[in-house]
Symmetry: D2
Amino acid sequence: MNLNAIQKKLRDFVGARNWEQFHSPKNLSMALAAETAELLEIFQWLTEKESKEILNNDLEMLQVRHEIADIFIYLARLSDKLNVDIEQAVLEKIALNERKYPVGLSKNNAIKYNKRDLDDLDKSKE
Amino acid sequence: MNLNAIQKKLRDFVGARNWEQFHSPKNLSMALAAETAELLEIFQWLTEKESKEILNNDLEMLQVRHEIADIFIYLARLSDKLNVDIEQAVLEKIALNERKYPVGLSKNNAIKYNKRDLDDLDKSKE
Amino acid sequence: MNLNAIQKKLRDFVGARNWEQFHSPKNLSMALAAETAELLEIFQWLTEKESKEILNNDLEMLQVRHEIADIFIYLARLSDKLNVDIEQAVLEKIALNERKYPVGLSKNNAIKYNKRDLDDLDKSKE
Amino acid sequence: MNLNAIQKKLRDFVGARNWEQFHSPKNLSMALAAETAELLEIFQWLTEKESKEILNNDLEMLQVRHEIADIFIYLARLSDKLNVDIEQAVLEKIALNERKYPVGLSKNNAIKYNKRDLDDLDKSKE
């Protein structure tokens, strides 16, 4: 994926409309949350099984694609404004998660994964 | 960005812990929304100006980086499960937005950008 | 429920700390969304069945109670700032929904309830 | 506010349409989050000042009223399903917040209120 090219396209799009004035990190965080909620809305009354079968419904999938694109667009914008290298941040986070959830303790362990326990109450909001 | 490599790493991470059972599209949409809300929380009491100045605060920026990574991780997972090519979806969406917001009508036009009009009221969700 | 008394208590709480400066409708909408996401987080990896059984888990229910309270608190604050009579707004909305979802068409009709139709696709947000 | 009467009305509405099958706590938490995001959307490109001035715009306020009602409706439903007494939960939470944010330390203290500091990293997700 050519992320730089996408971020450049978005900068040009926003610049041409003089919309940078609206794209503070605060506002972008709101737009991002609003877009993820549109995905929630697609899935809210579906069972988990039905949510998997959405793959077979072209009309629903078109909508899902659009929402995924919208979320990515605002995430790319925010990262651009705040000089965050997404790929590097993701690789660091995966490494962190590997230490946090060792396979031996986590494997097949729905309870560990599901439940907030006392440890969770201590856990930082990352 | 090597998105395929990231998605492969995430598949391996999830597979090793036998967590695929939790990663239905429905559940991933919830996790995605929960992560974006953690970004909201960072910015909720800041002014827009302060939200821009977060760049100068290393501790806050570390947190922002982690949240951006978390959001990206769930978006990459969801796209992987639903066979969505994010880059292609984003390019299509940008092209769509260019038709939807022509420069001539949208330039410098906060009202156009800000306000929901009567059509929007008709689409209230229930 | 004595909503006026709750709103008075919250005004006093906020006033004593000089926090009205942070409680713009924009910021309150962010806090509200952040709190609802904490509920999402509790339920995100549970099956629907497990989400019903949470009733039997005192520790989880304590957390659910706190999140429900937090959501209500910000909703009460926002309504107070914007002079919205919640009860009246709710009764109007229920009446509206009764016209929108007539029993004859909606009964037992998951499809009607679940699916976005073509009209819905027209209302994509951008 | 007659919360019991509202919850009864909602139970009847849902029962008449045979929609209880969709109203698991998990699904209701998703619907709640989706509705709060519609409020976010109203405010996302507004300045804080403009968000206060929305009071003077009847059309926008009608929409805000509807969103507040929708959020309340799902919160009332969820509380009904999980036997949570909202008023009691709110009063407990306010008492908790009074201990957590003592006036002497919190008054006029934007930094304390704004910033996540090391204490915040320890703080439970309530």
